[in-house]
């Protein structure tokens, strides 16, 4: 008996196999990316780090137990290395400025009439230090130590390149299906978790894919938390000399 189906089955089997391989490759495209590419993809979509100068406005709610304190900060972000943090609200902090210039941190208050050096450990809100508010550069300031993965997420461990960086170790949880950061643990050199950053409610702000970030100081004050929501991110050419301590309090952006 002539088996008419045999060549047909063979051809279709090869085609199916080929399609399956293509589909597998397509579906698991992200898993084929290495950890560095995953992070680069995430921060590329965010479009801030290594993308020039920006003026960002952030709505902040600082919780202390049941009490909450609202604030609006404006961060002038210059080429990753320099950030100037100013307050839009509350009014009493309008003439306060915090400048981060590499590893140097300065504060200006109108009553002082001069910039004074402060420790980079200075907190702006209950749990958010200057580093978290001004932005941490996970791409350029950290090396990838290792990557683990579960069915749904990647767990990427980072170590600071410089011993002077505020948080020496970082663990980032990335959702596999859409490559979105869900959680970041900021740690000390010994691995002790200092702060946990929960990433929620991703949306596009002026073309930048950013999340609302909840910051919990798990090391010191667990009953406090700070929630930061980006409300605008505008690309803008900023003059480098504006990020000098002498300029603080002498003009307004």
């Amino acid at each position: 008996m002539f088996d008419q189906n045999k060549p047909f089955n063979y051809k279709w089997s090869v085609l199916l196999l080929f399609l399956t391989i293509i589909a597998e490759l397509f579906i698991s495209q992200s898993s084929a990316m290495n950890s560095k590419e995953i992070l680069e993809d995430i921060f590329d979509r965010q479009g801030i780090i290594s993308k020039g100068s920006f003026v960002m406005e952030i709505k902040v709610l600082s919780y202390n137990g049941t009490e909450s304190n609202p604030a609006v900060v404006r961060v002038y972000f210059y080429d990753n290395s320099k950030q100037l943090v100013t307050f839009v609200e509350p009014a009493r902090l309008k003439d306060s400025y915090y400048l981060v210039n590499g590893f140097n941190t300065w504060m200006y208050q109108q009553g002082l009439r001069r910039p004074i050096r402060i420790s980079a450990q200075q907190k702006l809100f209950g749990d958010a230090g200057i580093a978290e508010t001004a932005g941490i550069n996970y791409i350029d300031d950290y090396n990838i130590l290792k990557t683990d993965e579960s069915d749904v997420q990647y767990i990427i461990d980072l170590k600071a390149k410089d011993t002077r960086t505020a948080y020496q170790m970082v663990t980032i949880w990335v959702e596999k299906k859409n490559l979105l950061i869900r959680q970041i643990d900021l740690k000390a050199l010994n691995g002790q978790i200092l702060k946990t950053l929960n990433y929620q409610k991703y949306n596009l702000v002026d073309g930048h894919e950013v999340a609302t970030i909840e910051i919990i100081n798990v090391f010191q004050e667990k009953d406090k938390k700070t929630v930061m929501e980006f409300t605008s991110i505008i690309s803008r050419k900023l003059p480098v000399e504006a990020f000098d301590p002498l300029m603080m309090g002498k003009f307004r952006f």
């Binding site: 600082s62 202390n64 009490e67 304190n69 604030a71 509350p90 009014a91 009493r92 902090l93 309008k94 003439d95 210039n101 590499g102 590893f103 140097n104 941190t105 109108q110 009439r113 001069r114 004074i116 050096r117 402060i118 420790s119 980079a120 450990q121 200075q122 907190k123 702006l124 809100f125 209950g126 002077r164 505020a166 010191q220 004050e221 003059p239 480098v240 000399e241 504006a242 000098d244 002498l246 300029m247 002498k250 003009f251 307004r252 952006f253």
Partner: protein
């Protein structure tokens, strides 16, 4: 008359510049107003009346990316005897790397919390009248800056102070070299300011200045201190040098400050400061407390106590203690 003419001329110049250079839509402004009451209790053995003073203060700042105008004035007095005072009236302008300021203001720099060795116009931190007419210009580069300035002495028409500062920024520290000249003492002064962040919550700062008054020998003033930030701020400093504006009284002081200013959103903000003379055992203790829950109206209470032997510098102040209550609004 000359002062008033100069003031009017300056106001006209300032507002002309502002009107020409600043477009209304670029302006960002803040207005601060405060009302206060000062009470000073005179030491029992002095034939003086206690201080009872009301004051009203207004500060207005407006500016844009290149210019800033600042005004601060106050009215002080009691029972029909009031004095109006212009504390500050200044304009600063940024032009690429150049920054210059002109007007009446506090010309202050340096690292100290209260005493600043290299700053000749800021000798006595208890002097609430540290405002001088003057001008200053800076050239700012990414790693260094150069500043030249001069200010008129507040008590004399002919005396002035001039200064030249060069600042250098390093990875976690900075250095400033200061040369100044005070015509009042015919003194050339040479100083250095330095600060360093250990990046573990501890900041170190210091300053040293050698003064060379014509009528007396060289003298030195210096300050060494640090600040530790965790949940609270702790500042500790040792200062050696003149403590009065006339540079007649030299002292060694230990300054300790403890506050919760690191927590910007605490409902209560407080600060304790103790300044202890190691030379004559005099002490000044200051306690300040603010209630910040309502950001429109901020009440503040400050108590300063002076103690020690009668011959001590702090007890040369006629008051045992002063109490200041203030209500501040900022828009």
């Amino acid at each position: 008359m000359i002062k008033k003419t100069f003031l009017l001329l300056f106001l006209w110049l300032t507002f002309s510049l502002l009107a020409k250079e600043i477009h209304a839509e670029d302006m960002k402004s803040t207005l601060e107003m405060s009302m206060g009451y000062d009470y000073g209790h005179v030491s029992d053995n002095l034939p003086l009346e206690d201080l009872k003073n009301y004051n009203f203060l207004m500060a207005y700042t407006t500016g844009n990316e290149s210019n800033q105008f600042f005004f601060r004035g106050e009215v002080n007095g009691n029972s029909g005897n009031y004095d109006t005072k212009l504390d500050e009236l200044s304009i600063s302008r940024k032009n690429n790397q150049f920054l210059y300021s002109i007007g009446k203001q506090k010309w202050v720099w340096g690292k100290g919390f209260s005493y600043i060795p290299t700053c000749p116009l800021y000798t006595d931190p208890t002097d609430k009248d540290n405002y001088y007419w003057g001008l200053e210009g800076s050239l700012i580069n990414p790693k260094n800056s150069y500043t030249i300035g001069a200010a008129k002495d507040k008590d004399s028409d002919k005396d002035y102070t001039s200064w030249f500062r060069s600042g250098y920024s390093f990875e976690t520290s900075d250095l400033t070299l200061v040369t100044s000249y005070q015509s009042l003492f015919e003194s050339w002064n040479y100083g250095v300011d330095y600060s360093y962040d250990l990046l573990n919550g501890f900041e170190f700062h210091s300053g040293i200045n050698v003064l060379n008054p014509r009528d007396s020998g060289s003298m030195m003033r210096y300050l060494v201190g640090g600040e530790y930030i965790s949940k609270y701020n702790l500042i500790f400093e040792v200062y050696h040098g003149p403590v009065d504006r006339e540079q007649q009284k030299t002292d060694d002081l230990f300054i300790l400050v403890f506050n919760n200013s690191a927590q910007l959103f605490e409902r209560w903000q407080w600060e304790f400061q103790a300044t202890i003379s190691l030379t004559d055992d005099g002490q000044m203790r200051k306690c300040t407390i603010k209630y910040l829950k309502n950001s429109i109206l901020i009440p503040e209470l400050e108590i300063i106590m002076y103690s020690g032997p009668k011959s001590s510098y702090f007890k040369s102040n006629p008051y045992d203690y002063t109490i200041t209550f203030k209500l501040t609004s900022k828009f």
